[in-house]
Symmetry: C2
DNA sequence: TATGGTAATACGGTATACCATAAGATCATT
DNA sequence: AATGATCTTATGGTATACCGTATTACCATA
């Protein structure tokens, strides 16, 4: 065998619709708790019910939508306890990935990670927070890949989907001085100096910080709802 | 309010089909790599294609089936690396749950956990390994619940689905002396004595042990395939 | 017998129409 | 104002048809 298998991209309608809806949920065009009525969705997207329904099943399994019996799907909501749990799991998985990455890194990681960090620093004051989020994701993706923790990465990404609103909130918060950046630098340095323990700690600090801000947001939101 | 909410079982066809297929994959009636052809499935289950397809989307998101482009769904396969990763994640999540459970347990946990352990000891030599597996699941479920880690529990259960074959293999292995039991006792004792660190270690030992056996199995299987 | 071409088949991907039922909203009635 | 009847909306589920593509089986030919 000399030739490698030819890679066609048979992207199905499902894949597209899935991406679209995920996107819409991520940047809040579908608010949490909002109903996802099938037929209007079909019209908006210009696809049949079959496609929409299959997509909804998929997103349901991902935890992005919830099904109310005999009522249909709604965009999943998130309370403070769930958020806490999610950040806690992320802390574990990302910490472990960083540690593993620090240990087993190949010689081509250094440049790539540094480049990712640079992009991050460029995008930090960008008005397009989406870009910054994406850069953050890419930074962590590198770490997970190098660590060989791709299943954990899948899990983390899925969890991130469920807290996407929080992530944008914490990023776009004007009162925040974005201390995240210093953490990222710490993570980068620790990994490149092959210090597993320090890398893990840096990640855990980063997440703990984010979790705290998220918690504050949710607290305010819930308080606001009470006497709203 | 005096009367409690009446629990209708709005179990949809989808739910049933989902449970059936998951079951079938779990106990190997659908072998890994086997194709899941829609129309025959519809006939076997007596439902329409829509239901089957929606189910498949859900199981796809769970990682239980894979979709091959232009070919359709197959039962997901598992290689050694993936198994290693899954056991690694389980080690983290279950360890953390045990630690948290040891700390924040209420006074009604003791009896329940002890009862679960007893059931476990009864079922250990049962010819119906399914029962033993179920008892194990219940034991851990108690721990996660008490710890308040229900999202992590979802993740663990999903991961367990992907290694279900391995779990039955490790349990039904005649050469194994089921050292799992002693670990379970250690976990139980550590939690009841509120020793978080010891509980975590006990869990980690338990999983490490299982992972090792699973790894041996897969190694043999892969070697067997090579010159088979 | 090996090669190449072609037809048949199988199956996923997609669309549409239909029915039954549950939940919610509206409105009339007492 | 509580009750009850009715209408509307939308889901849950089914059946059916169509297209495109991949695989397979078959056949002809060199």
């Amino acid at each position: 065998m000399i030739l490698e298998k030819i890679e066609k991209s048979p992207q199905t309608l499902r894949d597209i619709v899935q991406a679209r809806m995920r996107e819409a949920i991520f940047d809040g065009r579908f608010a949490p708790g909002e109903r996802l009525v099938e037929r209007p969705l079909c019209e908006q997207l210009g696809v049949s019910r079959t496609v929409v329904r299959e997509t909804i099943r998929y997103l349901e399994a991902e935890g992005l939508v919830e099904i109310i019996p005999n009522r249909g799907p709604i965009v999943a909501t998130l309370n403070r306890d769930q958020a806490r749990q999610i950040y806690d799991i992320r802390r574990q998985l990302e910490g472990a990935a960083a540690a593993a990455c620090a240990q087993k890194q190949g010689r081509d990681l250094g440049p790539k990670l540094s480049a990712a960090l640079t992009t991050l620093q460029e995008k930090i004051h960008d008005t397009q927070w989406v870009d910054f989020l994406q850069a953050t994701t890419h930074f962590y993706e590198l770490i997970f890949q190098e660590a060989g923790h791709n299943i954990a990465w899948d899990i983390v990404q899925r969890l991130n989907g469920r807290i996407s609103r929080l992530r944008t909130l914490t990023i776009t918060d004007p009162t925040r001085e974005r201390p995240g950046m210093s953490h990222m630098v710490a993570i980068h340095d620790a990994i490149l100096s092959r210090d597993a323990q320090r890398a893990q700690l840096a990640v855990e600090n980063h997440i703990a910080d984010a979790a705290q801000i998220a918690n504050r947001f949710l607290q305010e939101a819930e308080a606001g709802l009470d006497h709203g």
